[in-house]
Amino acid sequence: MTGWLGPAEWAAVALSLKVAFWAVAGSLPFALAVAIWLARGRHAGLQLVNGLVHLPLILPPVVTGYLLLMAFGRQGPLGEALGALGITIAFRWTGAALAAAVMAFPLMVRAIRLAVEGVDPRLEQAAATLGASPLRVFVTVTLPLILPGILAGAVLAFAKAMGEFGATITFVSNIPGETQTLSLAVYALMQTPGAEGAALRLMVLSVVLALAALLASEALARRARRRVAGE
């Protein structure tokens, strides 16, 4: 196996996995909160929130990346604040994770929101009449019923994070070993004469990873439907 890809390529794959994992793990609690809020909320401003959440899906990724750079760069307002705490995000792998998280966020929110909307609020009422506090209702009824939806959303977001390109390269550049994820490595190899073979191998690997994630997400969604039907 080690002969199949060079150490630099393996480093890119490992970095992609790390970036995607943290992108999903870090944004999952926020995605859950936003999804429940969008599904259940009655607030007039929800349409605006909905639009903001979906913005990265519609904006050119390079614009999203540039906006991130403006906000989190060394001179950016958020970057400066974090810098004062000794945290730098721009041009680091953490920045790549942030870019991936922002790009994958809409997908995760959509999947979880669908699951929340599928939960019958009358079941939650029934739980309350049986003595369950709102928190307990959430943990014992709502959460188990939307869990497959959460997992499906997380898998989809993971796949998206693995393949993120535009926002990442704009925000954190293409630094081997630090921010050069799978797709950035493919891009770099394509620019290098004689490296077409390595690029092709990485592309095959991307396709396999993406396909596996999609299938897993579908399987989880099917399970979610069965679970809500109580079979």
Partner: protein
């Protein structure tokens, strides 16, 4: 333990303004769709916050808008059996049953066994709700509510979504529940036969108000209430005792006004049963009829004549300690010159009290 309810609530174009008391046993909230029945039980459960009102259960104030008290649903200990069961689809039957019990001080094995036995669901414990029939789901829902140790039980048309055989399957369980559990049950229904079978007290709701309230036997025999219950379904409830089972398939029953012969009643000699006599199955005669096939004739006194819009007259009758209801035509009433206080004979066709209307109570 008892329940006291006073509510005012307005939503859409509908105004609800009711007050009633419910003691031990089954109190039926009866009325047509849209009469406000579900709104009342939802307010008792705490799923709806009324504009104004006060609800007290077993001495504890669940709601008092005057003092701003609103106990949230999970702290009311009010069991609720919904029309649609609402079992948790992701949990097994056993876990559904244990859900409320766990929150009210732990699952007691003997309690679980007793209630599973009472409801006949012992064999279903490992199943998922999706694999249950409608009747089974409802029985599990009843068990789940009971195991949470409620101080009152609300049942919102628990049989409405079921077909006749499934209803017949569950009714006996609810009857036993009312006798054995000893907790007040607020039973919402628009089906007269269910109410007649189960209820000790009836509260009739119409247009968001209490149209009538009182003991079931009194309301069902009241000619003025009959139109509210529906004329077709009108009929008295009569307590009786089984005296003997004859060889020819009939059972002899004693009522306070005499004796009745019914097709074999499924109860032991000496058992108390409840009969339902449809008003349209009761004929009136000025003299004791001779040479007719009907076996059951009771001497009665007219207590009330209620003439409605149509061609019929509802006649309230006193037979011993009990009250009966007869529905006759206005023409017959005129021909016989019926007046209140008049003594005459009520002829009941021996087949009239249907088996389904006889219950052990």
């Amino acid at each position: 333990m008892s329940l006291s309810v006073a509510l005012r609530h307005r939503f859409g174009g509908f105004a609800l303004d009711v007050a009633f008391e419910a003691g031990p046993g089954v109190t039926a909230l009866f009325g047509r769709s849209g009469a406000g029945k579900t709104t009342v039980v939802n307010a008792v459960a705490g799923l709806l916050r009324p504009d104004a009102g006060r609800i007290v259960a077993g001495g504890e104030v669940l709601l008092d808008t005057a003092t701003g008290r609103f106990l949230p649903p999970h702290r009311r200990r009010v069991g609720y059996v919904f029309q649609d069961g609402r079992l948790f689809p992701h949990l097994s039957v056993a876990a559904n049953l244990a859900y409320g019990a766990r929150l009210s001080g732990g699952v007691d094995g003997t309690d679980l066994a007793r209630i599973a036995d009472l409801l006949g669901i012992g064999a279903l414990l490992d199943r998922r709700p999706g694999a249950l029939s409608g009747g089974e789901k409802q029985r599990v829902a009843i068990g789940r509510a009971l195991l949470a140790r409620p101080r009152i039980l609300l049942m919102d048309e628990p049989l409405a979504a079921l077909d006749a055989p499934r209803k017949a399957e569950i009714l006996p369980y609810i009857e036993r529940l009312a006798q054995e559990a000893g907790l007040p049950i607020l039973y919402v229904s628009h089906a007269v036969d269910e109410v007649a079978r189960l209820a000790a007290t009836v509260v009739v709701l119409a247009g968001g108000r209490v149209a009538r309230a009182g003991p079931a036997a009194e309301l069902f025999a009241d000619p003025d209430t009959a139109p509210l219950l529906g004329l077709r379904e009108a009929g008295a409830i009569l307590p009786a005792r089984v005296v003997a089972h004859a060889d020819d398939g009939l059972s002899e029953l004693a009522v306070s006004g005499g004796q009745l012969f019914l097709p074999r009643v499924a109860a032991a000699v000496g058992a108390q049963v409840r009969l339902r006599l449809h008003a349209s199955d009761v004929m009136l005669a000025l003299a004791r009829p001779e040479g007719i096939s009907a076996l059951n004739v009771l001497r009665v006194r007219i207590t009330r004549l209620h003439a409605g819009e149509g061609p019929g007259v509802m006649v309230g009758l006193q037979a011993g300690q009990d009250r009966l209801l007869a529905r006759i035509t206005r023409r017959s009433a005129t021909t016989l010159d019926l007046t209140e206080g008049m003594e005459l004979y009520a002829v009941l066709k021996s087949v009239a009290p249907a088996q389904g209307d006889v219950l052990v109570g």
